[in-house]
């Protein structure tokens, strides 16, 4: 199912032919039609990224390209820095007291750690789905989906239409369309997580980060999310952290293996799981440790 894998993107070759567009985000967001956006994916590149919690060096010099409109999975044992690395991409890492990051994270050509970059704009462009479903308990289902737009003070858009769009894209519309005003916290775990995905795509980001989005879900809910990820990659660049190697194999176009804060290997998923070039990767994917 993941045949059209690109040539190994870990090297400096830039596989996607993307125009060096600066920030056309607003024009795109205003048009509001989801189908057209498929060609205009966005790349994220890490350049020598280091991340710290106080003196604790958790991510060590990671250089990695996330190809537009592809799913990149990050695997590795607990505590290897996967989550921290992903949180550096939308600058959520710095929310933790004492945490800091060094190096570059580029969204297309823009260094999001640049001096004149607004954190809020970065997070609007790079959405995030968390490990545990966390709908806002004070809000209804539709309120949750619209929350991102309301919270960012966006005006002049048809909220109702956007809510429906996002819920459809998250595959939740048919299940909740008759009870949009009920509290979001009343849904099942899997539905809550899809609600959180709907909430994330309602603000029309360019990249979606998923931090173990299925680890709190049962296999059937997991399957639904995985199908959804496959749908979403047509419009978004997706980075997914996962503990579940089968999941990486199922959803990801390419997979990156991390160990002790370092990027060991990044290659097309099939290669990582069949003929990895690093012995440590092989040991991990064959279950020798981790």
């Amino acid at each position: 199912m993941i045949d059209p894998a690109p040539p190994a993107p870990a090297k400096s070759s830039m596989p996607t032919p993307r125009p060096s567009l600066p920030q056309t985000r607003n024009a795109e967001a205003a048009s509001g039609s989801p189908r057209v956006a498929s060609a205009a994916g966005h790349t994220v590149s890490l350049r020598g990224l280091d991340a710290f919690y106080s003196d604790h060096h958790v991510v060590r010099g990671v250089t990695l390209d996330f190809v537009a409109n592809e799913v990149t999975a990050i695997i590795g044992p607990s505590g290897c820095g996967k989550t921290t690395m992903v949180r550096c991409i939308n600058r959520m890492h710095e929310e933790v007291p004492g945490a800091r990051a060094e190096g570059e994270v580029q969204l297309d050509e823009l260094d999001i750690y640049g001096a004149d970059v607004d954190v809020v704009a970065v997070r609007r462009a790079i959405g995030m789905v968390f490990q545990k479903p966390n709908p806002f308990p004070t809000m209804s289902i539709s309120g949750n989906v619209a929350a991102g737009l309301r919270l960012s003070g966006t005006r002049g858009i048809d909220l109702e239409q956007r809510v429906e769009q996002a819920l459809r894209a998250a595959g939740l519309w048919d299940e909740v369309s008759d009870r949009l005003d009920e509290p979001g916290a009343g849904l099942s775990g899997g539905q809550q997580q899809r609600l959180c995905i709907a909430r994330t795509i309602a603000v029309e980001p360019e990249v979606i980060l998923m931090d173990e989005p299925c680890s709190a879900l049962d296999p059937i809910a997991t399957l639904r999310i995985e199908e959804l990820i496959d749908e979403l990659k047509r419009r978004y660049t997706i980075v997914i952290v996962t503990h579940n190697m089968q999941q990486a194999a199922r959803v990801a176009d390419s997979t990156a293996f991390m160990l002790n804060g370092e990027l060991i290997e990044h290659a097309p998923t099939q290669k990582i799981f069949t003929t990895p070039s690093d012995p440590r990767t092989e040991q991990y994917v064959t279950g020798k440790f981790g």
Partner: protein, 287 residues
């Protein structure tokens, strides 16, 4: 078959003894509470009448002594203004501590002083306002708003303390989710943190109000004790605790009875407020 031994008689006895001790201690602690409620109701209920609630103290030695209307309204006015000052400031300080200050040195210093302020005797707040706002003569003499100021000082640390606890209970995941959606921090606070914490904030504030409404000493030096009803916070103002304090010292039974009635009224007012707080916090609990 199994090696599980039966419960020994000694352990059964110890268990019974420990349970009995706990039950006895609880009963003992309830005695003063029950006694207070009993005396309050039995002595106070006789004083209550429509006249009691609708007339001011007359001050006449003979004949009708009047009711406590001015005291009830005065308490509502003074405590109302104190609440309007203490609750926004108190919650504001708590928001600073939880959302911005965190473990910074300044925030910890503020926390320490808030703790100290919670322990300051109420008479100190009364004296402070008396010295600063009344003895200096800059702001006129005794006035209702000065009583409110004293009560606000007393209530603010209570509000802050309880609000800090409640705000810390708001799951960090909610803040993160909102921030990750591209929300500025102030919007995260206004739209996510405060609504989620609202029931707890209301409960904490109402507890502070109940505490403030029962205070006598800060009012004696500031709003004093008068007879007439007034809606002017810049004039001297009566209040229930002050009225009780005044009546109970008098050598007339009808005035002492009025004090019991006023005490019962005050307790019932605070009880209603607490019930209201319970209802609000039950209706929408933190998920």
């Amino acid at each position: 078959m199994t090696s599980l031994s039966p419960i020994s008689n000694r352990r059964r006895r110890t268990n019974r003894l420990a349970k009995a001790l706990l039950a006895g201690g609880t009963a003992l602690a309830l005695v003063p509470l029950a006694a207070i409620v009993y005396y309050l109701v039995s002595k106070g209920v006789g004083a209550l009448s429509l006249h009691f609630f609708t007339s001011d103290p007359s001050g006449r030695f003979f004949g009708d002594a009047g009711g406590v209307r001015s005291a009830i309204l005065g308490t509502i006015e003074i405590v109302g203004l104190a609440t309007a000052i203490a609750v926004p400031f108190g919650i504001g300080v708590a928001l600073y501590l939880v959302e911005y200050g965190k473990q910074r040195r300044f925030a910890n210093a503020v926390r320490y002083f808030i703790d100290v302020m919670t322990g300051v005797p109420s008479i100190v707040f009364g004296l402070f306002i008396y010295i600063v706002l009344i003895l200096t003569g800059e702001f006129g003499g005794f006035a209702g708003w000065k009583g409110s100021a004293a009560l606000a000082l007393l209530m603010m640390p209570i509000v802050t303390r309880s609000a800090e606890v409640v705000l810390n209970l708001v799951p960090a995941g909610l803040r993160e989710a909102a921030l990750a959606l591209g929300a500025p921090r102030w919007r995260v606070i206004a739209r996510i943190v405060l609504p989620t914490a609202l029931p707890g904030l209301v409960t904490g504030s109402l507890l502070a109000i109940a505490r403030g409404a029962g205070e006598t000493t800060p009012l004696l030096f500031t709003a004093t004790i008068v007879k007439a009803t007034t809606f002017d916070l810049s004039s001297q103002m009566n209040s229930l605790p002050a009225q009780i304090f005044d009546d109970v010292r008098k050598a007339q039974n009808k005035l002492v009875d009025r004090a019991w009635g006023a005490a019962l009224t005050l307790v019932v007012m605070i009880l209603l407020l607490t019930l209201l707080a319970r209802m609000i916090s039950r209706r929408s609990r933190l998920a």
